[in-house]
Symmetry: C2
Subunit: 471 residues, 2 copies
Amino acid sequence: MYWVNLFRQRKVLNLFLYGIAFALIFSPAGLFANEAATDGATHSAASFPLIFLWIAIILMLAKVSALIERVGQPAVLGELLIGVVLGSLYLFGITFFEDIKTNEIIHFLAELGVVILLFQIGIESSVKTMVKVGVPSFLVACVGVILPFAAVYLGGPWLAPGLSSVAYMFLGATMTATSVGITARVLQDLGKAHTAEARTIVGAAVIDDVLGLIILAVVSAIVIQGSIDAATLTIIILKAVAFLGGGIIIGGWLAPRFSKFFSKVHTGVGMKFAVVIFFGLVFAYLAALVGLAPIVGAFAGGLILTPIYFDEFTDPGFVTDLKTAMKEEHVNGALSEKLDNIIHTHSHRHIEEFVQHLGHFLVPIFFVLTGMQVKVSALMDGKVVMMAVLILIVAIITKVLAGWAAGKGMNKLAVGVGMIPRGEVGLIFANMGKSMGVMDDGVFSAMVIVIMATTLITPPMLAAVFRRIQA
Amino acid sequence: MYWVNLFRQRKVLNLFLYGIAFALIFSPAGLFANEAATDGATHSAASFPLIFLWIAIILMLAKVSALIERVGQPAVLGELLIGVVLGSLYLFGITFFEDIKTNEIIHFLAELGVVILLFQIGIESSVKTMVKVGVPSFLVACVGVILPFAAVYLGGPWLAPGLSSVAYMFLGATMTATSVGITARVLQDLGKAHTAEARTIVGAAVIDDVLGLIILAVVSAIVIQGSIDAATLTIIILKAVAFLGGGIIIGGWLAPRFSKFFSKVHTGVGMKFAVVIFFGLVFAYLAALVGLAPIVGAFAGGLILTPIYFDEFTDPGFVTDLKTAMKEEHVNGALSEKLDNIIHTHSHRHIEEFVQHLGHFLVPIFFVLTGMQVKVSALMDGKVVMMAVLILIVAIITKVLAGWAAGKGMNKLAVGVGMIPRGEVGLIFANMGKSMGVMDDGVFSAMVIVIMATTLITPPMLAAVFRRIQA
């Protein structure tokens, strides 16, 4: 077993080297890029073709990095690592990828990518599912937010000495996140997506995202305005809650009517997708308008969208073909039932697939770009690594303790371990802290190490805990 | 019939007004946009949420504009018109959409959109189909390029007096284009996609695009360098031909090996799509590198991709489900054949659907943005309209004459009429001429009027000609 893993890991290493070789091949082309770009088609096209090339390379490397799944790790970790490699190539004199770090268009695509990701997670969940998982999820989420925040904020001076009070707040906020994506994905990989523990974890992770982002709004306000009084705090919380509550209620009322109206205008696939995207992007915009992160809005926008709202649009092509074949051949009995089931499932999955397809294009850009912002030089710093290890220990313990809030009838350890990965939401927090000047490169790098470590630790731990339940 | 159409047109008008009302509702929100944007997630996020809102509005209005299909016009015309409306709102004091015209991110998305569109058309064609339609297509394409170019270039001083020789060249080049998208779409709408005429038109339109873009490369060089000598001309043509020929041969050799190699790395949908996108974007980049427009590269990249190259990747979800159901229920006979057929067709359409889904998101941005660049004030100019009408007449006559090159056994008028629409490629030419400073606003607006008119005229004319064939 050990040797198999080692072999696999060498294969991963080989492909990382492939990636670097690849980069080198394209590096001279980069020199000609400015010449080529003068032929671009629109007035500001200066470097559009070069950006096309960047995206192509990022996508291929991101997918190659999915090899990391073969050693039991989630693909997102591979994307982060490939980003770290690309971002460090300048240390070896390869500067072809340097401009990606500051390119506004790439940053926009990354931001759009993470909005699409949270929108997708929102679509796959529903208001109903969230209500169903109910009390235990809510308790786990609350404890899972309060404990890490309190521990890191109050314990900050011991964990990472010499920072400002605001910085400890931001560190604490970063540690409150739970990655819905990673947790759900790991549970799916383990075939445990339908256990009570799994539903509680995912429910808690969803609520946790929302709670954590309210905290983030509060913390951001404190950073921007220096301090926050009770009235402002109340207004921020009220705005956030009003947007989420109001958005879900009004949006939930509006969505079926809106899509019904536009299905009368046109029943085509393009119109269906435009309505879907409209909800995601407008909610992302409105969230920003009340001071929340766009991703919270996108998630809420996804939550209120239900596949049945889109039943009046034209079926996907294969559904039409399948229906015709069934009619022509007078299919009935068990087969008819099964085929009807396939039609039902996949015509309802049509909008999810569309958003997923956009995600295939955009989401890796976010994770690779995030990885690129890790400064390897900072990782050489013993203080940074020390800080990361200490915060990591607190991050793990506090989330495992939160699992105890799940109450009777559940494996509390499984729930707690499932809450460990901070993933994309944690990275967004860290990014924000960095862009606001609260975290310096060292602290940011430590945060990214912690997040990568929680992501790395969870799959094998969760697998082990579920194995113990069965034994 | 007349009243029905009038009613329909009023419905279209109503929806245009809806669109404007919509814009007004969101206009105040635009005032808050800067405030909202400060909460964006990355360092340069200044107006990302606002751009999300812009995209959402552009997509919805573009799809609503598809109502124009109900009066027999292609959807692209609706998108152009909605663009003209949005771009003219400033005349009524509504400036919410003004910044779109110059926003670099929107321009990038538009450019990516048209790259994706041509890539999609390339994927739906194949090197084989192009060879098959052969001689008549080639002749029609050549005559359809030479005639309009010669007529507009030589007749320029009469059609649009007072411009430079270079400007007449650009006008001529713009008129050589034939829109594959519009022609193919119209033929599909008429249910005539498989007639000999249809295949010849589409084949000629494809070859025409390539010829036209070689001309464009030549004309651009003349504009940039002032003049062009035989050696430079030869090099430009050789570079273009070498890229296209070499790209298709080397790319055609590489594509199956490349996708087989990466299917071993990962068989997932994400990897399949990354390989597909990689070809589109890298070819777009390489085209720019040899001085061709990125869209030519994307088209070539699409041409060499064949669905069977992707057979080793995981089936789409519904195919897997259908296969399982067929096995469990021991389906055989006629039904089995039909279901196998559905599986075959739709697993092969999987990559086309992916690219289409990206297109649903990106392509309307290109056409709406193009429409936005029409200056209505220029349309008020009698000289501009006069110029447009004269060029339009030449544009129609020359392409109809080109149809005669199709030779025996075909309805030559149908082929000629099918070549009239200049569509997206013509718009790209016009855009380029404008961005290079060769066309002023008046000439550009005249060109856009001509292109819109050819787009508008073709569907009813083509329908009438095909109706006459049947009668």
